[in-house]
Amino acid sequence: MTGLSAVLQYDFMQNALAASLLVAVLSAITGTFVVIKRLVFLSGGISHGAFAGLGGAYFLGINPFLGAMFVAILSAVAITHVILRRSQPADATIGILWATGMAAGVLFVSITPGYAPDLIPYLFGDILTTSRVQLYWMAGLSTVNLLLTIILFRQLVAVSFDDEFAHLRGLPVGTVMLLLMVMNSVAIVLMIQAVGIILVMALLTIPPLIGLALAANIRVVMFYAFVSAVLITVGGLFLSYYLDLPSGPAIVLLGAGLLMVVKLAKAQSLKRKVES
């Protein structure tokens, strides 16, 4: 087995580690809002819908992640519009987006002339192939996301908690919702890079759920979510490297294991509290 310091000399490993840290930041801030505002299904719709953009960009010969970003933001705007107008249940709209996006993506890839590419990395992620350029994009957009979250924090929390009361306080609820959704969709596409479209759900849910199990204040929840997201992504990365496993599943299964341990430990400590 290669020593840790030797492994860290590799460019690809440095890139992957940096990407893991950025993904952990996104998972903590975006995921916490997704979980507490019950946007998990919606986020699934956006991430799967983004596959249309991925395939479309591949067909046109441009960067697939630009296509995914474009479609994800577009669908976030559309869904926000549906939710705000309440003209039809967003539930069904999300289902349509989910299926149509995947179908369109696969179709685009299949009609592209030449070799059919391997779709598995897009679906299940491959953080070990993160390039320098991708890393710069991730760093830039994650920073924008983080700064917006800090600047808008009270508004985002107020609108997530009780949008009608926020409206009566004069807050621009529609704009805040739209910003939250667009920030979420950008984060989702950045996370697709690390764990793929399907497993992005895990990073949006597992670390925030660990945070919620450990704390009852949203800032502390986000902190614990960040710490656990770092443990999961970096841990999964090393598991993937040493055991030659695909990185996405390694990250997700490690996360599921950690969540289970935290939940069990919490149940035990509650039981002890009741007994004493």
Binding site: F161, E164, F165, R169, L171, N217
Partner: protein, 262 residues
């Protein structure tokens, strides 16, 4: 707002429907300064919808709602229905009440010293000091109710709206709430949406009976006939000036309206 007859809110011929389903038809009513109005009616009769229309949370399909009697920079206090938000939300009592001090702009909102002082004051007034750092998810029904009222009052509102405030609290809390509202009503008008008017009966000035349309709007003491009509069966009679309330015979079992309001 010294003139008790001054018109605060005017609802004129308002209709509203969710899709093709008509919820309210041709409703007109007024709210006066120092008013204590109870909007009553069966569950699903459109009470909450009417309240949301008045608050501007919904837009009417037809008719007009105006607020002629309020100053330009007014504050509206609103206590929503119990289940309208996520109880497991990771916020403390302090965080939630402080939301009542938020302003209208999009960007960075600083918490001022005044915001903190007013939040501490209102928590103290409502006997919530000890719960200040407790997560809202761990509160009892009565405690959460007081937190929601604190959040509504911390902006020093010009008018207070409460949607089904007694539905989820015990009898003791109901009594405390009722006397608290009476006390508040000395300074500001209060509008309560409820399917159970008896808890407020001794203090309410006006009653509006709503079931798809407005059946009655006027003095509380004259309301019993309209109540029969709105509910389709005899209901509890409201008596003014008498301690607490007089109950009419309520034998018809079909008169109970379980389930939650829309």
């Amino acid at each position: 707002m010294t003139d008790t007859k001054a018109l605060l809110v005017s609802v004129r011929n308002v209709s509203f429907s969710y899709g093709h389903e008509s919820v309210l038809k041709d409703v007109s009513l007024d709210i006066y300064a120092k008013d204590y109005l109870a909007i009553i009616g069966p569950n699903g009769g459109g009470k909450t919808t009417l309240l949301k229309l008045i608050l501007g949370l919904l837009k009417p399909d037809a008719g007009q709602i105006t607020w002629p009697g309020l100053p330009a920079r007014h504050q509206i206090g609103y206590v929503p229905q119990f289940a309208s938000f996520e109880r497991e939300f990771p916020l403390s009592v302090w965080d939630v009440v402080l939301m009542g001090r938020m302003g209208g702009h999009l960007w960075w909102q600083r918490v001022s010293d005044r915001d903190q002082d007013l939040t501490a004051d209102i928590l103290h007034q409502l006997g919530l000091d000890a719960l200040s750092s407790k997560p809202v998810g761990q509160l009892s029904g009565g405690q959460l109710q007081r937190v929601m009222i604190a959040r509504a009052l911390v902006c020093n509102p010009d008018i207070l709206f409460l949607d089904e405030p007694i539905a989820s609290i015990d009898t003791g809390s109901r009594f405390r709430l009722s006397s608290m509202l009476t006390e508040l009503n000395k300074n500001i008008p209060i509008v309560v949406v409820t399917h159970d008017v008896t808890s407020f009966a001794s203090n309410v000035l006006h009653i509006a009976c709503v079931n798809r349309t407005l059946f009655y709007h006027g003095d509380a003491e004259l309301a019993s006939g309209c109540l029969d009509e709105a509910y389709g069966c005899p209901v509890e009679l409201v008596a003014h000036g008498v301690p607490h309330r007089v109950l009419q015979n309520h034998a018809d079992p079909s008169c109970t309206h379980p389930g939650s309001d829309k």
